[in-house]
Amino acid sequence: MAPFTVRDCALVTIATGTWAQNLREFRDGLQRVPVDSIYHHFWGRLLQPWFDEPEYNNDFAAWAWHGLHDKALAERLAVVNPVDFQDLEELREELLDIVEDRLDQSEYVPWSRADQRFHFLRSRIVVFDAGVRVETPEELGRILPSLSEGAIYYHFIDARRRTEQCSDDFCTWLEPLGERYRGLRERIGAIDPYFSSLQEIRRQLAQMFREELEEVRA
């Protein structure tokens, strides 16, 4: 069996040049920005400087509240779970439906303050080898708590976009080991990354490896 190769990553954040001052411009922006931008505002933000414990889990919802002061729209955008969609275009369609609905319901187009525009961003991922190889799940469990946030992002978040089976790298690597690690795979697969920070995902993974591997040994 091939060893698990730990990779790490850094993001280059790029302004798309598209911004919105009001909800109609936001709708237009959503329609035309590269789909990478939608991805960035859901997932790339996990590696960005931000204050922890945010009120909303994606940048669109956060702007609907902080920029437009539209709590109803913010709630509807926040509840969208990106993992429920086959691809990013489908996710974009869902967001557009929500915004269109809101525009239909509104008597006027909600505006943000001049200095509270929404800026559509995208990112380029730079992936590099962390120089760490592990041969067994036990070894992987031991090094998990020390993995960087970049490594967690690459193997747990980015993997779902990168791999055919839309799975994280840990489950993919454990798969050929068969039934013995099935329980661990199932628990990892149940982690909802959308409602976690990278630190929290790392903590959960480390705990699952510890508990499940103890059970396997027993």
Binding site: A10, V12, W19, R124, V126, F128, S146, S148
Partner: protein, 415 residues
């Protein structure tokens, strides 16, 4: 690992430094030149003093060059600076001509080095026009803008835009600062150096000494603003805020700063500030030399609350410095201050002297809140605004410019 990297590993974490080493491996030996207009004074010079040795320690052939200017040139670029931040400043043709000529002369002096470099970082508008005079350049050129150009005075931006458009990429602190340009606009917030004299831990006695040294009252709470004497930093607004707040809570205000070599307007603002403070024993105006880093460090640590009541701000590294020392910050609701000062969590954002006064009063009255916010502020800086993160972003950008433009780039294993 070099001694320098080892020292950073001790403060920022071994993982963060190992991360840099791996990312820098494919860039070993790459010739990189940074160019700006002053070796001392101002945030840009401070960042470069740290960034260059770190890049060198990571194996990159990094150099820092400073262009030589004339008084007229610096008057012109000071006008650019103000105009890019929104002031309606007419820049006469004679000054624009001087700007071009100074850049042309410096292109002659630095030509060979810059044309040969694989990556060139040009900081701010002063040396931006070098690119016009170096048609034989082979590397990637990046314009690093440290200024908030979200609402530039159009005639000045119209002059600079065609120059800046020639670059392969530009870097802004925040998306709000970016302007439409025909190349990629990358977002990289600046950072502070935890090992520098300005940010390192100091003995308590050294912190306490600032009271005697500057004639301050050790029995009275101190609030502090550290910045150049510049209208955009609103020092007069800070004096007013302190006077309003002093009706409720006794304290002393320290305005500490100096004039950078490329800031001829600073003297005039300093005079206005001195005049406003001359009859007030609780306002202390300290003009410090540009290398008084340790003194500023001690003042920030001695302060109860730090202000940065800027009307316009690029990023506000003095905010980051104060937060690193566990101080809540009362900051202007502008620019990069918004990214750092989270209302009610790491400080307060204000727009008027009255707003600042209210928050001064609150923070001096509520010791518990002041401490709680200060602790959070330090954590935010540790996680997001130390120089190791800044270097990482530069390395990622350099790789991305040299290796490709897709949305994914994979680089080889570290040795």
């Amino acid at each position: 690992m070099s001694d320098l990297l080892e020292r950073y590993a001790e403060v920022a974490g071994r993982d963060a430094v190992e991360h840099l080493r791996q990312l820098a491996h494919p860039l070993e030996g790459v010739r990189v030149v940074h160019v700006n207009s002053t070796r001392e004074g101002g945030g840009v010079a401070e960042i470069l003093h740290k960034l260059i040795p770190l890049m060198q320690a990571l194996g990159i052939d990094a150099r820092w060059e400073v262009i030589e200017g004339t008084d007229e040139f610096f008057r012109c670029t000071k006008n650019f600076h103000n105009a890019l931040q929104g002031a309606h400043v007419h820049v006469p043709d004679s000054l624009l001509e001087e700007y071009r000529q100074v850049n042309e002369r410096n292109a002659g002096l630095l030509g060979e080095l810059l044309e040969d470099a694989e990556i060139v970082f040009i900081h701010d508008p002063q040396p931006a026009a070098l690119i016009e005079h170096l048609p034989g350049r082979r590397g990637k050129w990046i314009w690093r803008c440290h200024i908030d150009v979200s609402h530039p005075y159009r005639p000045v931006w119209k002059f600079l835009r065609p120059i800046v458009s020639r670059y392969d990429a530009s870097i802004f602190h925040l998306p709000e600062f970016a302007q439409p340009l025909p190349h990629e606009q990358v977002l990289i917030p600046p950072s502070i150096d935890p090992l520098s004299e300005k940010n390192m831990d100091l003995p308590e006695e050294e912190v306490a000494q600032v009271f005697e040294r500057f004639g301050l009252d050790p029995g009275k709470p101190m609030i502090l603003q550290v910045s150049r004497f510049d209208r955009f930093k609103d020092p007069l607004g800070v004096i007013e805020a302190s006077r309003i707040a002093r009706k409720f809570v006794p304290h002393q205000l320290v305005l500490a700063g100096g004039s950078a070599a490329d800031d001829p307007e600073g003297e005039a603002v300093l005079e206005e500030v001195r005049k406003a403070a001359e009859w007030d024993d609780d306002v202390h105006v300290l003009v410090l030399p540009s290398n008084a880093h340790r003194t500023i460090n001690a003042l920030q640590r001695a302060a109860h609350v730090v202000l940065q009541k800027s009307l316009r701000e690029g990023f506000g590294l003095t905010v980051t410095e104060a937060m690193w020392k566990g101080k809540p910050v009362i900051g202007g609701d502008t620019g990069g201050i918004r990214l750092q000062v989270i209302d009610h969590f790491t400080g307060f954002r204000v727009t008027t002297p009255e707003g600042a006064a209210l928050r001064i009063r609150y923070l001096l009255y509520r010791d518990d809140k002041r401490r709680e916010m200060g602790e959070r502020a330090r954590r935010i800086v540790r996680e997001n605004f130390l120089i190791t993160r800044h270097v990482r972003d530069h390395l990622a950008l350099m790789l991305s410019l040299m290796r490709g433009t897709g949305d994914r780039l994979e680089v080889g294993p570290a040795a």
